[in-house]
């Protein structure tokens, strides 16, 4: 086993442990955990048995096994970037809803305060009634 393989295996073990931790903390859904585990298991197989990627490469007509891994990695990265974009957009949308509701609610409260002040000032005081 080469040094590169050892470094990659250590990294994969670290990534798997992070995924398990996130699942336990409730920050990762079961589906998300399954997705990441399948990615890391495939990566582990590719690192431990590099000849498998070469066989897949030959089957796909690409040539080298490393090229297959790079192509797949780029595809997965593009997909993940797109997912992150959607998550950010959803967050922005939620923030806008919050800001929007707050602005309307604040205006309602300001009006309530104004009206109560007006009604207080227009109400005759006890002293003036006695007169």
């Amino acid at each position: 086993m080469s040094i590169v393989q050892v470094i990659l295996i250590v990294f994969i073990i670290f990534a798997v442990s992070r995924a398990i931790l996130r699942l336990r903390q409730g920050n990762l859904t079961a589906l998300g955990f399954a997705f990441w585990m399948s990615i890391w298991i495939l990566a582990l197989i590719g690192v431990v048995f590099p000849e498998i990627s070469t066989d897949i490469a030959k089957f796909l007509g690409i040539g080298r096994g490393v090229d297959v891994i790079i192509y797949l990695s780029i595809m997965v990265l593009y997909y993940l970037v797109f997912r992150i974009y959607i998550i950010i957009e959803d967050l922005r949308q939620e923030i806008t809803k919050l800001v929007s509701s707050l602005s309307i609610e604040n205006e309602r409260l300001i009006n309530l305060i104004r009206n109560s002040r007006k009604s207080k000032s227009s109400r005759p005081s006890k002293a003036s009634n006695k007169k």
């Binding site: 797109f82 974009y85 959607i86 957009e89 922005r92 949308q93 923030i95 806008t96 809803k97 800001v99 929007s100 509701s101 707050l102 602005s103 309307i104 604040n106 205006e107």
Partner: protein, 229 residues
């Protein structure tokens, strides 16, 4: 009938007064006219300038959310307080609010659900700068390709919506791409659209504000990404 005029504003202390003053106080067949300025997190005195007017309600966004976000607040307000008509106007003085009575007419007559004030249908369209004409044409083309809806002025901010349209339209865009997103909503909700000419007013100030030539590309990119989501 009740009418609400929604004016999204971001750092418009110089022009907001003129826009408010020009909004008609009375319009035939309209019982109540409410002016609502959406101060979209301005860092200047827009809020205080607009608040001086007794007939104006100012809704303050705590942070800037963009034109789409401000319009979402306007639509929410109109729905919550049950307005029959909603008019949107730009706050940089690009539109003449005195044209509101003419623009609401097709809805009052039941001939439209939405009226678009089109600068390109106006005889004075020649006053529009060439770069704005090109941007507008690209905007129209993108709107057509993405939503299969041809309009002469996809980027116009001067629009009138009926109560039915306000209830059905649901916008998601945060920034200026909202102008094109409206057309997706018009089509998917089968709303009747009428375009009427409006006078284009271009000042040095309004040219620097709003949809600049550089951010037009960003707007198109965001539109495409929003559709692909």
């Amino acid at each position: 009938m009740n009418l609400v005029v929604i004016i999204p504003a971001f750092n418009e202390q110089k022009t907001i007064s003129n826009v408010i003053k020009l909004i008609p106080k009375k319009i035939s067949k309209i019982n109540k006219i409410k002016i609502v300025v959406i101060d979209d997190g301005s860092t200047d005195n827009t809020y205080f300038v607009a608040s001086k007017y007794k007939n104006v309600t100012v809704l303050k966004h705590l942070i800037n959310r963009g034109l789409g976000g401000a319009l979402q607040t306007g639509f929410e307000f109109a729905k919550k307080f049950n307005f029959d008509l909603l008019v949107t106007l730009d706050s940089d003085g690009q539109h003449d609010p005195r044209e509101i009575p003419r623009l609401i007419r097709p809805i009052l007559k039941g001939k439209a659900d939405v009226v678009i004030g089109s600068r390109l249908k106006s005889d004075e369209m020649r006053q529009m700068p060439l770069d704005r004409l090109i941007i507008n044409f690209i905007g129209n083309l993108v709107t057509f390709v993405m939503f299969l809806f041809w309009t002469t002025d996809s980027q116009s901010g001067f629009r009138v919506f009926s109560k039915k349209a306000v209830a059905k339209i649901s916008i998601r865009s945060q920034k200026m791409e909202v102008s094109s997103e409206f057309f997706k909503e018009f089509k998917s909700n089968n709303l009747k659209i009428v375009e009427l000419p409006i006078k284009p007013i271009y000042t040095r100030y309004s040219r620097l504000k709003g949809q600049t030539n550089i951010n037009s590309l960003q707007i198109i990119t965001r539109l495409i990404l929003n559709i692909a989501r």
